[in-house]
């Protein structure tokens, strides 16, 4: 909790939630994306269509799912199908947004959620791709949620689990990935970032309340582009905080 009366996670959830558009489809993973989607449905995006990888689609997110296959992922939903259906809709180009996280990220938005150290002799074995590689490969726009620190924003990540822009412009298509897909935004506890349209390198575009440009550069382990003018992200509103605390995450799994 900051002196402003909200926690860094609460702010992250609110900033991510505001990026979710009504009438779009979004692949939602465990954790913060679930809270952000639930918040978006209760506010500006009642017809946000969440897609969960094990087959739940179009749920009303009245209860917080604790697993991507649990019954709240298709509660009052439109479809309860299977993993192949969900992933095949993504391959068919029906999924607008995908939400991702990871332990490490580089300047092109490539993500590591597999291993710290060598894959064959890991220092830390992480949970692995799960659906992340699929979401990062097939959704039109991916939005990456991360804690911002020099240990996570790296020039070179230990393992490329999920494709961002790989090595730069044209590299995704060259590798065989579907055209015109890729990372759209990175939302962190400090800032929002996009990717430069030509170089495909990460670029600072907005600052969270009380955060300076230098602070973001300091916490980024690669050369960060900075947009000409920086937006100021609004703090969580009283209503957003009330919804998060009293309705969405009453049991405090995340906030």
């Amino acid at each position: 909790m900051t002196e402003n009366g909200y926690s860094p996670n609460e702010l992250l959830i609110c900033v991510a939630s505001r990026l979710m558009e009504d009438g779009t489809t979004a692949f939602i993973g465990t954790g913060i994306p679930m809270l952000a989607a639930s918040l978006a449905q209760r506010q500006h995006a009642p017809d946000l269509m969440p897609i969960f990888e094990f087959g739940g689609m179009g749920a009303r997110l009245e209860r917080l799912p604790l697993a991507v296959g649990d019954m709240w992922t298709f509660h009052r939903g439109l479809i309860a199908a299977g993993i192949c259906d969900a992933m095949e809709f993504a391959q068919l180009g029906f999924v607008d947004y995908g939400f991702l996280g990871g332990a490490q990220i580089d300047a092109y938005g490539n993500l590591n959620s597999t291993v710290i150290g060598e894959q064959k002799h890991p220092k830390v074995r992480l949970p692995g791709s799960g659906g992340a590689n699929d979401v990062g490969s097939c959704c039109w726009n991916t939005i990456i949620l991360m804690q911002h620190s020099k240990r996570r924003f790296l020039e070179k990540i230990d393992f490329l689990t999920t494709p961002g822009y790989l090595t730069g412009p044209g590299a995704r298509e060259q590798a065989g990935l579907p055209a015109n897909t890729g990372p759209y935004r990175v939302v962190t506890n400090l800032a929002t970032l996009d990717f430069h349209p030509e170089s495909k390198r990460m670029r600072l575009i907005g600052l969270n309340p009380g955060v300076t440009k230098d602070q973001v550069i300091e916490e980024t382990g690669f050369e960060l582009l900075v947009a000409d003018s920086l937006a100021q992200n609004a703090p969580p509103s009283a209503e957003e905080l009330r919804l998060l605390r009293d309705e969405i995450d009453k049991d405090r799994f995340y906030i």
Binding site: E53, M71, F74, G128
Partner: protein, 341 residues
């Protein structure tokens, strides 16, 4: 390859391979073998296949097998059968298993046995609680000797390929990443148009375990809610043990044949297991036992405490009925969903 085959391929346009995963298959792609196995071992007659967890696991579980377990270990997971597998791993001194790592609580418990030597890994973790502590120890120590990386869709499509009776499927995922490099997928030119396509090999499991909402005594299965990868894996399993919350009359199946996700001829054993997914959940029936899962997660940070859990909840309990007694019948009833959900 015979001389004739080589000549024939040379004479035609060979498809270009652009990229190839560096890892060998953990399980061979033998579609002819699967067809022959199905012909020899899967009866098309309506045979009563009801048995207990102990009988089913004794008959169909063997050392050296590749296991597949559907869905995630807190959601419609065959936990009563997994606990019996774990007991028999100890009692029968089983030491060499491979597994498809699309799992959670059940894989965490299996990691505590030390018998898993290889994993086609996509996600192993405890979701809301984070990294799977015993799996992490097992992989970092080298006890799990071989780990191949895949995405969730890739593993599901690998089951789908096997379930279709074809050796691979072309897909759009994994390309350009270390996930592909540390797998046995490949990338070839698209033979029907421009660009490239990844190929994922069929995944045939020696023993599949699936928990369903209801089944008849022959093994016709209905699933309430999402089907995960039950349809695909049931078809990709050489042996398949199904556990069901309830066994129903075949008339119930015949009333709604559109609801049969797994037909009887795929199934080798039918186990009646009410609360069979505990401590996980079952859509439409009961919620997961959050304090139980949370308490395991906290204990399992310490390897010895993880074994204390195994002793109390698995090794010291002879069967599922007594497990339910140990959990407490009143407590289980409190997990049931009300009519409003």
């Amino acid at each position: 390859m015979t001389q004739d085959d080589a000549t024939q391929i040379g004479a035609m346009d060979a498809l270009r391979v652009f990229d190839r995963g560096e890892y060998d298959l953990l399980q061979p792609v033998d579609i002819e073998g699967l067809r022959a196995h199905n012909r020899a071992n899967k009866s098309k007659a309506l045979v009563d296949k009801r048995m207990t967890e102990k009988e089913a696991v004794s008959r169909f579980f063997e050392d050296g097998q590749y296991l597949g377990i559907e869905l995630y270990g807190t959601v419609r997971c065959p936990m009563s059968v997994v606990r019996e597998v774990i007991r028999q791993i100890r009692d029968r001194n089983i030491t060499n298993l491979r597994i498809c790592g699309q799992g959670c609580f059940e894989q965490e418990l299996l990691a505590n046995t030390g018998a898993i030597k290889g994993s086609d890994w996509t996600y192993t973790g405890l979701e809301v609680y984070g990294i799977s502590p015993s799996w992490r120890r097992a992989v970092e120590s080298g006890a799990v000797e071989r780990v191949c990386e895949w995405s969730n869709a890739a593993i599901a499509w690998r089951f789908k390929a096997a379930g279709m009776g074809v050796p691979f499927l072309p897909v759009q995922v994994m390309q350009g990443t270390d996930t592909l490099r540390c797998s046995s997928a490949m990338v070839i030119e698209n033979p029907y148009g421009a660009g490239k396509v990844a190929l994922v090999p069929a995944l045939i499991v020696d023993l599949g375990l699936i928990h369903v909402s209801r089944a008849d005594k022959y093994g016709n299965c209905q699933i309430d809610g999402i089907s995960g990868f039950a349809r695909e894996m049931s078809r990709a399993s050489k042996r398949l043990i199904v556990s069901a919350e309830e066994i129903v009359d075949t008339d119930v199946i015949r009333e709604h044949p559109d609801r049969t996700q797994i037909p009887y001829f795929l199934v080798d054993a039918v186990v009646e297991a009410p609360f069979g997914s505990h401590p996980g959940e079952m859509a439409g029936a009961y919620v997961r036992d959050e304090p139980h899962i949370k308490s395991y997660y906290q204990d399992a940070q310490d390897a010895e405490k993880a074994q204390t859990y195994m002793e109390k909840w698995i090794y010291a309990v002879p069967d599922h009925e007594q497990y339910l007694d140990l959990v407490g019948r009143d407590h289980l009833e409190s997990l049931r969903l009300g009519r409003d959900v």
